[in-house]
Amino acid sequence: MEDDAPVIYGLEFQARALTAQTAETDAIRFLVGTQSLKFDNQIHIIDFDDENNIINKNVLLHQAGEIWHIGASPADKAVLTTCYNKSESHCFLLSLAPFTASLFIMFLSPSDSRVVSCAAVWRMPSDWETGSHESPDDSAHNPQALELLCRLDDSTHGNAACVLWEPMGDGKRVISLADNHALLWDLQESSTQATASSTASLEGKGQLKFTSGKWSPHHNCSQLATANDTAIRGWDLRTMSQIYCIENAHGLLVRDLDFNPNRQYYLASCGDDCKVKFWDVRNVQEPVKTLEEHSHWVWSVRYNHSHDQLVLTASSDSRLILSNMVSISSEPFGHLVDDEELSEGEDNHQDDKSKEPLKDSVVSTYEEHEDSVYAAEWSSADPWLFASLSYDGRLVINRVPRALKYRILL
């Protein structure tokens, strides 16, 4: 029953953006976007060979700028979105006059140099996979570039923070969060054309800015949850109007959100107060549950796609924590739900739960990272496997401990 050792992969750049390749359900595959101001940024396609415990990777160039957020299309394996920064004037000057760069920079007026965040839809070159198989060295030295499908930019709406694909959709709809706007895009002509179909914007005092968001997989994908400062807001996409608002969801900034894949009203959030909170959006006054295991800001929270008691959190205390939230899970832990008991009604369930000896607990804390962990993702192919990415470019692939796995399954 020895648990497999974690597999570590190092990127040569700092990185924040990590996603599982959602459309891929056979291979365990993650996409990582790097952050480098000086060199061409890359997207690493990490394939994990479960049987041999080996990582295969492919690199694609993302020349547009450093990647802050990455999202994979749920329908097309090859399509992905990124949010990236580009420093306009600086890049321009460098490319124009690389030899006299320093001279030019001296003359840059403050208004000229600007860092803007953009969002775009990309397609991976069709042969990236075959190329890598033939000669990995070759591809490493001469990586292929991503093919730009369309930009999700609208000059009127500022900097993009993240792009969300419609969950389980046909890859035709995305939402981008830019400053205080949420834009719903329709992708047409095999994603080469994007039109903003509707927008919602955040009104209020001061400079409001979306920090993160999540498209709910429930209610026919008609709901969106966003975070700005300390508040969490729910939106109805059909009317683009706010449906709920959790003011002061966290004492400090809310960093990330995730929807419970099985319970439609349950939402997890994390933030700078080191806490992870679980909400029932029908009652926004009080969180259902609060975890306080991290010793610094929590940057990412993810429900397991199939067993929603497993919750993964990543924090800038360099730790990754896997928690087992039995009490608010859709499947009563260690309890075989057969038809008989189901028919006996709610009370019986309550009783069974109270008899349940296992409580919500931290399953394990992963300390393989040495810098802040900004992202963690479950694999879309193997529900027992997850990856986490720390700022120094270290990607760690871990598995749920076997003992727990068997307890959940059996």
Binding site: S102, V115, P143, S295, D317, S318, D371, D392
Partner: protein, 836 residues
């Protein structure tokens, strides 16, 4: 032989009478008589050499002497023996003489007696002759008088009969007269005397007539008595007389009991109504308000425990008719004493009296007793409910002595009832009321203590909020003098230790005064204090657990609440208060709790029958609260500084910034704040241990981001496939440095607290920097800022390497995030920082 010689010597030395006796003794011995004149059997010596023994053989003795002794000894023996023989001879002569004399006198006496007896015999003969003549005469006389005597006896019998008849005939008239004169007792007496006779001869018409007349009259009389009884205006004595007469008239006792009791009830009920009238005004809404106002006012009075006279506490409530002592007094004097009177007279009439009379056979005492018990219980229950209502109105905690005295009186008076009515449960119920009142009181004290605590916290809050620039502040702030006088103005309240000591002292005083007040319940002169409840449970469960322990728990609880409620943006609790409370809880843990509990145990002589909360549990709780508060303090202060740093990083355009000429103001502010926090914490917590630091701490350069290495780092060639990190150095550095928990528990000392705060602040700085993109001057500004921070912050923390490490990370990260990483010369940085 020697012993014998000694004995004889001793004899010769004895004084006269003693010697005589001794001599007699020796003679007796010789003749074989002991003291009782019987021959001793065991003492007989068979030794033929024993000169005093009966088997003495002179020949044998002589031979023995001759054989054993020397000549000189023999001579001595001889002289000795001669001396003894001589003395024995003279003794014998004296004895013979004495006995002879006695014998002579005895003979004389016997002779005289013989003469006297002869004379007496003659006189006795004469006497018997006289007696026989007297007997003869007397027989003769009685024979002659016999006839007349019989006649006289008969006549006198007739006379009595006639007298009786006359009485009977006169009876109706006499009864009427008695009735007129209201001499009921006499009438009843007369009738009773005649009743039997009339009954017996009722078959004779004349007697029948008399009987009927008497019946009619007695009926009337009974009627009148009943009337009188029913009117009830009469005194208790009259009443009892009435009842007595009615009983004699064969009135049914049960009915009488009922009547008597209902009569008594009406009177007692008027008493109760009087009592009720006094507490009537309260249940109305306005009165409740008054009562609450009174509560608060007396709670205020409780703050000054010396001011306890009942007058002052009664004064601020003009609406209250009487204070509780007066009320209870009235209750005792009116209700309880008349109840006692009723019980006494009732028992006299129906129980004691009936037991002696013929009524006893009819189970009347039992019936009467049962009725009495029911009656007393019923009324007492109503009385108790009134008393309880009144006690419940007694909400003010100032005048405890008054309440205790009232309860004492209440309890004491009930003892009288207990004595009169041994089987009744009235006194038990009374005790229960007292117990309930006492527990209620304890609860009130607890809530008073709690509100006092919250009030004093509010006071402390206000004291903290009003900025004061007192002398103590500037003198204490000397520790932070490195930044000039900028410290004392900020929120380091000048008199934090004073506030702490005054807060803890006032709480302690309050607890003591409350304990003193509660202690009245167990005072020796209070009757109910020797009840088992007040000896045991009240002390341990009531006072110790639900007052003292609950209060301590409340303090910890409320302290913890400060941490929980204030999750959002530092919360509303001023950090200084958190610090103060943390110290307070810590003090409680170290000394105060055990002191208070010892005090309680001593004052109340608590005997722990039931398990009580041990001191250690409370201490652990207090420590936990202290820890939580301090952690929260660190968090709040850290967040305040973090917020400044975050804003300063987020709001600036770091790409297009000018070349740094100064340390940014926000950094100075951070250092100032840190210094003032340091002073603030230093006021309440000890310094704590820190790792020894190198002498040139402030001059240290950034190890990771020094200009020499910078080339190597950024010249790293673009090698996409390399699975190695390029920033190897920084990672190796991290590998060997320990993982830092940012929001972690701190220890109870200044250095640990400051380390916590600085950790939080710098980590925030780091994370914010990583989210931004920098231009060349942006990076240089960060370099300057970090150097400035390093110059000042190292001295606050336990391990300066921590500060260095975090600042290195910040500069390193900003270099990473820099579009044009051209670091500033170390010397220039130093000059800028030096300049301030």
């Amino acid at each position: 032989m020697d012993g014998e010689a000694d004995g004889s010597l001793a004899v010769s030395e004895d004084s006269g009478p003693g010697r005589r006796r001794k001599v007699h003794g020796m003679l007796k011995l010789y003749y074989g008589l002991n003291e009782e004149g019987k021959a001793p059997e065991q003492q007989e010596s068979l030794d033929p050499c024993d000169i005093n023994g009966p088997h003495f053989d002179p020949e044998h003795y002589l031979n023995k002497l001759r054989r054993e002794c020397s000549l000189a000894e023999l001579m001595d023996q001889e002289t000795c023996m001669v001396k003894q023989i001589r003395s024995l001879d003279s003794d014998m002569q004296t004895l013979v003489y004495e006995n002879y004399n006695k014998f002579i006198s005895a003979t004389d006496t016997i002779r005289k007696m013989k003469n006297d007896f002869k004379k007496m015999e003659d006189e006795m003969d004469r006497l018997s002759a006289n007696m026989s003549t007297i007997t003869e005469f007397s027989a003769c006389i009685s024979g002659t008088l016999q006839d007349q005597h019989a006649q006289i006896t008969k006549l006198s019998g007739v006379h009595t009969l006639l007298r009786k008849l006359q009485f009977l005939f006169e009876l109706p008239a006499r009864l009427n007269k008695c009735l007129e004169m209201q001499a009921y007792a006499q009438a009843v007496n007369s009738h009773r005397r005649a009743r039997c006779v009339l009954q017996q001869y009722s078959h004779l018409p004349s007697f029948k007539g008399i009987q009927d007349d008497c019946h009619a009259i007695m009926e009337k009389l009974a009627q009148e008595l009943r009337q009188k009884f029913r009117d009830g205006g009469s005194s208790a004595k009259d009443l009892s007389e009435c009842v007595e007469l009615l009983l004699q008239l064969d009135e049914p006792a049960e009915e009488l009991c009922d009547k008597f009791l209902s009569h008594a009830r009406s009177r007692l009920e008027s008493d109760l109504q009087g009592l009720e009238a006094e507490i009537k005004p309260y249940p109305s809404a306005s009165a409740v308000k008054d009562a609450s106002a009174r509560t608060s006012s007396s709670a205020v009075a409780a703050v000054s425990p010396t001011d306890k006279s009942p007058k002052t506490s009664a004064l601020p409530s003009p609406t209250s008719n009487t204070d509780i002592l007066e009320f209870i007094d009235r209750g005792c004097n009116e209700f309880v004493s008349s109840l006692c009177l009723v019980i006494t007279s009732y028992q006299e009439l129906f129980v004691t009296h009936a037991q002696t009379g013929e009524l006893a056979s009819k189970n009347i005492p039992q019936m009467a007793n049962g009725k009495l018990h029911a009656f007393v219980n019923d009324l007492a229950a109503r009385y108790f409910s009134l008393v309880e209502r009144r006690i419940q109105e007694e909400k003010g905690v100032g005048d405890n002595s008054l309440l205790v005295r009232a309860l004492d009186r209440f309890h004491r008076r009930l003892q009288a009832v207990a004595k009169l009515l041994p089987g009744s449960d009235v006194p038990n119920k009374g005790t229960e009321i007292v117990i309930r009142a006492a527990t209620e009181r304890v609860k009130q004290y607890l809530s008073a203590l709690q509100s006092f605590y919250m009030d004093s916290l509010t006071d402390v809050r206000q004291a903290l909020a009003t900025p004061r620039l007192s002398v103590t502040g500037s003198s204490v702030a000397g520790g932070g003098a490195l930044l000039g006088g900028s410290v004392s103005s900020r929120d380091a309240p000048t008199s934090l230790p004073e506030l702490l000591s005054s807060l803890s002292a006032s709480i302690l005083n309050q607890i003591k005064s409350v304990l003193a007040s509660v202690h009245l319940f167990t005072a020796k002169d209070i009757t109910f204090s020797n009840k088992p409840y007040f000896k045991g449970e009240f002390c341990s469960q009531g006072v110790r657990e639900s007052l003292v322990v609950s209060f301590i728990k409340f303090v910890c609880q409320s302290s913890r609440q400060f941490c929980e409620s204030a999750g959002d943006k530092g919360g509303s609790t001023p950090p200084a208060l958190l610090l103060l409370l943390s110290r307070l809880c810590l003090d409680y843990e170290t000394s105060t709790i055990s002191y208070i509990l010892t005090l309680t145990d001593e004052q109340f002589l608590v005997q722990h029958h039931s398990p009580v909360t041990p001191v250690t549990t409370l201490c652990a709780e207090a420590r936990e609260a202290a820890q939580k508060l301090l952690n929260h303090y660190v968090k709040v202060q850290g967040l305040i500084i973090s917020q400044m740093l975050r804003k300063s990083v987020e709001t600036r355009d770091w790409v297009n910034t000018i070349e740094p000429r100064n340390v940014r103001a926000v950094m100075k502010r951070v250092v100032e704040d840190t210094t003032s926090i340091d002073v603030q914490v230093g006021l309440l917590y000890e310094e704590g241990v820190r790792k020894a630091h190198s002498s040139d701490s402030s001059k240290r350069t950034f190890s990771v981001y020094s200009s020499s290495r910078q080339q190597a780092r950024y010249a790293a060639s673009y090698t996409p496939s390399a699975p190695m990190d390029t920033n190897l150095l920084s990672n190796i550095h991290k590998l060997f440095s320990e993982r830092i928990d940012i929001f972690s528990s701190v220890e109870f000392n200044k250095v640990s607290v400051m380390t916590g705060i600085i950790k939080i602040s710098l980590k925030t700085f780091l994370e914010c920097v990583r989210l931004r993109t920098f231009g060349r001057y942006g990076l240089q500004q960060i370099q300057v800022d970090c150097h400035y921070l390093q110059m000042y912050l190292w001295r606050f923390v336990s391990d300066e390497n921590l500060v260095h490490f975090l600042l290195d990370e910040i500069v390193g990260s900003s270099a990473h995030r820099c579009l044009d990483p051209a670091p500033m010369e170390q010397s220039v940085i130093e000059v800028i920082c030096e300049r301030g």
